[in-house]
Amino acid sequence: MFENTLVELDEIPQYQEITFSGLHNNYKKIVVLNSLITLLLGVGICIVLFFLIDEIEKLFAIISILVISALLALLPLISYKKKKYAFRKHDVLFKKGLIFKTTHISPYIRLQHVVIKQGWYAKKLGLATLVMYTAANNFSDISIPGLTLEEAERWKFFLMNRIQELNDESENQL
């Protein structure tokens, strides 16, 4: 049976009013490690340049590379706290960004598949990333890092069930 009663705008659920949950505390360690690697890479390039080039203008390049790598290392350290997620009954939300605050939302009924990813350091810490793919091609996956492996698996199980349920409902509707 299909109902289509009149809806007032206020009755439509508001995504802004949801309380989001933050990532696991250990995720900070991963971020710090990544920042360190970025910084080391930057410094390494600078050292190589310093010894390779014999002109005074090299300082401009070296300083700018240093500044850029420092920025690239610093920004994630500040902004990782802004990464938050929420699962509603019908969709998943993921919020991030320090200066450019973005909220990604994807309804479960549009999800194609759900994958759990783990890097080596995350594996050591017992963390995992939950990636949800849709059929849209570019940048369309939502990936939530910094969940414990157990959480990620439980969410995956929940999502798979939910997707199946919704697809069945969608087919029964005809």
Binding site: L9, K101, T103, S106, A136, E169, S170, L174
Partner: protein, 503 residues
């Protein structure tokens, strides 16, 4: 759908005998395409005229021919129950099995060689990656049509595996039963050919001419001189203005003629059949194509019109389907050049069983977007000023001014044309500077939304919204944030409540 001759697809079918010519033709073509610079060089320089050179080319042709021949003999296709089975290979055998309901679209194409022999190339697109795309090269027309019917019939026979088909749609199918046909006349094709895609063709021409000039230079000029020097010398003379004017108009004329020829070649004899919520388009002069698009697989509906086309009441329609993940080169979409407003409405009606929506009261981006874009435009201006300063030629800095004001004008026109309407089940975005594109995005096709606001936009409550679909992204840039939030909530509500599938 009864054919005069019945075909049995349940047994393995071989390609047509005449496809042997196709094998020969494509062999020659591929070798010629790969080796044409060498051959051309040989003819011009007359230095490599030794026998082993010909021997090498002969061996290359022979090996390609033999491999293609083997591929030809070991290729077979059959339809068993609800599966299409393709077998190929002699030493490395491969079998591809595709469920019929996973087949997206079946297109019949004819290259020039095919046209001479009278055979068709059947392209079968499946949902998923491009590696599972199937080609059956060399079937005659009747058989190709029959195969197409067999492959696509499952779509119509068991609608429970399909999806969108509420009661309204069933009614619409009955209404549309009287096979509508749209034919694009030669005159409107010429009109559209004269007015479309200036920029694209211009780019193509420039790329082409640079290549040609470089090639010519290799042959006719010594190393130290360049053809550009000649052009410069010529233009430094007193008739600089005249040369400029002639070049300018000449270029415009070339662009227009090139455009016209390209359009006529590709879209000659364009016909669309509208039947059972199916669009079937056939077109082409040297290469023919027959493309059919089921209405429920249309992801986005676009039409564009520029000032001249507006005067002549012509639109160029683009029907976008799922783009495959891997190769972005081949954008899937059906282009219909030169339909009038009435035909546009019919098309829209067949696809969405809905009428075109009046765009009277829509939303516009915040006026600050102008300031931002002009600020971005200032960057190249400042850079060129700096360059002029360091090269001691500040005298010429007035040159920047007309370019800058032209940029500002274009930005303003873009702003003036942009408009967004969110009504019924569509997000409609109208935008563009010269070619004004109107995009209809059905809400059910949206896969993901992302709404964003930067720190600097908070005070004025501006934000941006990205709508991700399987056919591309639509971005609403610099709109009222509260409105966008309301829109997001409503879009999500509709998708989740309706539970329509998107394909």
């Amino acid at each position: 759908m009864s054919q005069k001759i019945s075909y049995n697809f349940s047994l393995p079918n071989k390609l047509d005998k005449k496809a042997l010519f196709l094998v020969l033709g494509t062999t020659l073509y591929t070798v010629a395409r790969a080796a044409w610079p060498i051959i051309a060089l040989m003819f011009v320089k007359r230095e490599f005229k030794s026998w082993y050179f010909f021997a090498v080319i002969g061996v290359i042709i022979l090996t390609t021919f033999v491999t293609k021949l083997i591929n030809y003999f070991y290729f077979s296709y059959q339809v068993v129950d609800d599966e299409l089975i393709i077998k190929k290979g002699w030493l490395n055998k491969s079998t591809t099995v595709v469920k019929l309901d996973k087949i997206h679209e079946v297109n019949l194409n004819q290259k020039f060689v095919h046209k001479i022999i009278g055979l068709y190339l059947v392209n079968i697109d499946t949902a998923g990656s491009s590696s599972t795309e199937i080609e059956i090269n060399g079937i005659d027309f009747q058989k190709a049509l029959a195969l197409k019917d067999v492959l696509t019939s499952s779509v119509e026979i068991n609608p429970e595996s399909r999806t969108i088909s509420s009661e309204e749609n069933d009614e619409a199918i009955i209404e549309d039963q009287s096979a509508d046909k749209i034919k694009i006349s030669l005159i409107s094709l010429i009109k559209i050919g004269l007015t479309r895609n200036y920029l694209q063709t211009f780019g193509l021409l420039i790329a082409f001419s640079f290549q040609i000039i470089d090639q010519l230079q290799d042959f006719f000029y010594k190393d130290d001189a360049s053809v550009y020097d000649d052009i410069f010398e010529a233009s430094y003379d007193e008739y600089l203005g005249l040369v400029g004017v002639v070049l300018f108009f000449g270029l415009i004329a070339v662009v227009v003629i090139f455009n016209l020829a390209r359009t006529l070649l590709t879209y000659y004899n364009y016909q669309i059949n509208l039947k059972d919520k199916h669009l079937t388009a056939s077109y082409g002069l040297t290469d023919s194509h027959i493309i059919s698009v089921p209405a429920n697989k249309v992801q986005m509906f676009q039409f564009q019109q520029n000032y001249f086309q507006k005067l002549m009441n012509l639109f160029e329609v683009k029907i976008k389907q799922v783009e495959s993940n891997e190769d972005n080169k081949k954008k899937k979409g059906l282009i219909i050049p030169g339909v009038n407003h009435l035909e546009l409405n019919t098309l829209f009606n067949v696809i969405f069983s809905n009428n075109l929506i009046d765009l009277k009261n829509g939303y516009k981006p915040h006026i600050r977007v102008l300031a931002i874009k002009i600020a971005i435009l200032c960057i190249p201006a400042i850079i060129s000023l700096i360059i002029l300063y360091f090269t001691d030629s500040l005298l010429f800095s007035w040159i920047i001014l007309p370019f800058f004001s032209l940029g500002c004008l274009l930005i303003y026109m873009g702003y003036k044309n942009e408009k967004m309407v969110f009504k019924d089940d569509f997000v409609i975005l109208k935008s563009g500077i010269w070619d004004i594109t109107t995009t209809y995005l059905p809400i059910d096709k949206i896969q993901k939304v992302s709404i964003s606001q930067s720190y600097f936009q908070e005070k004025r409550q501006i934000g941006s919204l990205n709508l991700y679909t399987a056919a591309g992204i639509i971005t609403l840039y610099y709109y009222d944030f509260n409105m966008l939030q309301r829109m997001v909530n409503e879009i999500l509500y509709k998708i989740e409540k309706n539970k329509h599938s998107w394909m």
